[in-house]
Symmetry: C2
Subunit: 279 residues, 2 copies
């Protein structure tokens, strides 16, 4: 049973709930985690990888997760009502709490599942800019997909204002990290490189799936290294691989290595195979 019009299910612990409580710590402090999964014909092919990242985040924040089996079954039921749904989003918060930062040890987690249309495949290369917003260096929160996302909100607002598709972000020391909602791969001397995410940024599930097949390596990059690259793409688990066509004044024509990476991705997740057939 879904809430009419919103396609969203809300739970507290193991039980359905009509609404998120006003004293939920997700609302008060962004005290939660989320995952956004690409669906394919009612399935979630990368479920295990998303849950593994969620579990890493929960361990870092010492936040209780709901039972994976129940969350997965509810997600499947939500998708079954609309086989054309292309995306499932899961939010898990620390649940209700009294006023104050101290986490209650025994609160049941709040979790929300929602389904959304698939985004259109990237028909053209992305137009991208460097964001003025920089990511703060915070190793305690780096890599995990937590709900403290004001930096991304500010950076994304820059992109909207500038009329570009996405924005690239550096950390406070000038290291390139990622786009606002995608990771970054650059081709240099025939090899794919992607920045490490140990100081800030989100370790994307699509990025992790691509590392081994592309024989990519992690290395810190500055802005000049990105501009000097032979090809650049962004990736995330919802939209797959998004080639860069322009970064401020720098432009890139389509590159065969990016096309090869997209074929690799198509073998890893069937939704991205369809993207290739119907770009």
């Amino acid at each position: 049973m879904t809430t009419p019009g919103t396609n969203t299910l809300i739970f507290r612990g193991g039980a359905r709930s009509d609404a998120v409580s006003a004293d939920d710590r997700g609302l008060a402090y962004g005290d939660g985690l989320f995952e956004t999964l690409r669906a394919h014909r009612g399935t979630l092919p990368w479920w295990d990888a998303h849950w593994a990242r969620l579990a890493r985040g929960a361990a870092r924040l010492r936040l209780r997760l709901p039972e994976q089996r129940q969350v997965r079954a509810e997600a499947a039921a939500l998708l079954a009502q609309d086989p054309d749904a292309g995306v499932v989003k899961l939010i898990v918060t620390r649940g209700r709490g009294a006023r104050g930062y101290a986490p209650a040890a025994d609160a049941a987690p709040t979790w929300l599942l929602s389904r959304h249309p698939a985004p259109p495949a990237a028909a053209h290369g992305l137009q991208v800019r460097w964001c003025r917003t920089r990511l703060a260096v915070q190793p305690l929160l780096a890599g995990i997909k937590h709900c403290n996302r004001l930096e991304q909100v500010l950076a994304r607002a820059e992109c909207v204002e500038a009329g570009v598709d996405e924005g690239l972000l550096c950390d406070a020391d000038g290291n390139v990290v990622s786009a606002t909602s995608a990771n970054l791969f650059v081709l240099r001397e025939g090899r794919w490189t992607t920045p490490p995410l140990d100081r800030c940024g989100v370790a994307g599930v699509c990025r992790a799936q691509l590392l081994a097949p592309l024989q990519a390596h992690e290395a810190r990059l500055d802005a000049a290294a990105v501009a000097a690259a032979d090809a650049v793409f962004l990736c995330n688990a919802v939209r797959g691989i998004l080639p860069l066509a322009r970064l401020d004044a720098r432009t890139w024509p389509p590159h065969p290595a990016v096309a090869a990476a997209r074929r690799t991705l198509a073998q890893l997740h069937p939704a991205f195979a369809l993207d290739l057939e119907h770009p």
Copy 2:
């Protein structure tokens, strides 16, 4: 009309709402601001200062605020139902949004008012420790009271685990910033000093009220400077001035300059005058 049991009012734009929507950006991204105000006999003596900080945060985040007049009237009505309530908390979020970081330009803000008991006055000096958690340096978010508070949640969890009353936080470069939910004043050579909040931390309303009367000045401090101070207190708008009795191995006896600061505060907010009379 309050929601029974929770003492909370929820609004979207100018209209009452039964619940926070599942797609609220406060829940998704901590995309909001909050204020926690000390009440006194049904009034909120520092309303103007709290609203001014809220407005500064809203300008920084380009977040729409509700009408101040309505928020203030609703807060007064909420307090009128329980004249013994000691605290009012206000949360304002960017309202509902589609999936993705881009802020909707036209969303009505969501806002929540809740009333809470007054905390007990500090009968003894606080037992405090240095937190392992460090605050990331992010000038874009520094000073304002936004809802991205995972660092404070982690730091507060350290304090609970260690069995201390509060914890002091340094930034990534070793500069002392504040406690987890209070600002910090240290007495050195007869003068009160408090760290600037231009790189991280929250610029507290109580701190701002005290700066001029105490002839305090802002200066960066390292941990050694705090340990070497003749007296230290924490302060926030809910609990007023909280003297430090112990910081790890360092102890401080009661200091007449702290007692003088508490008398000064009592003249600035009548709730803290009561604290002095009934410690």
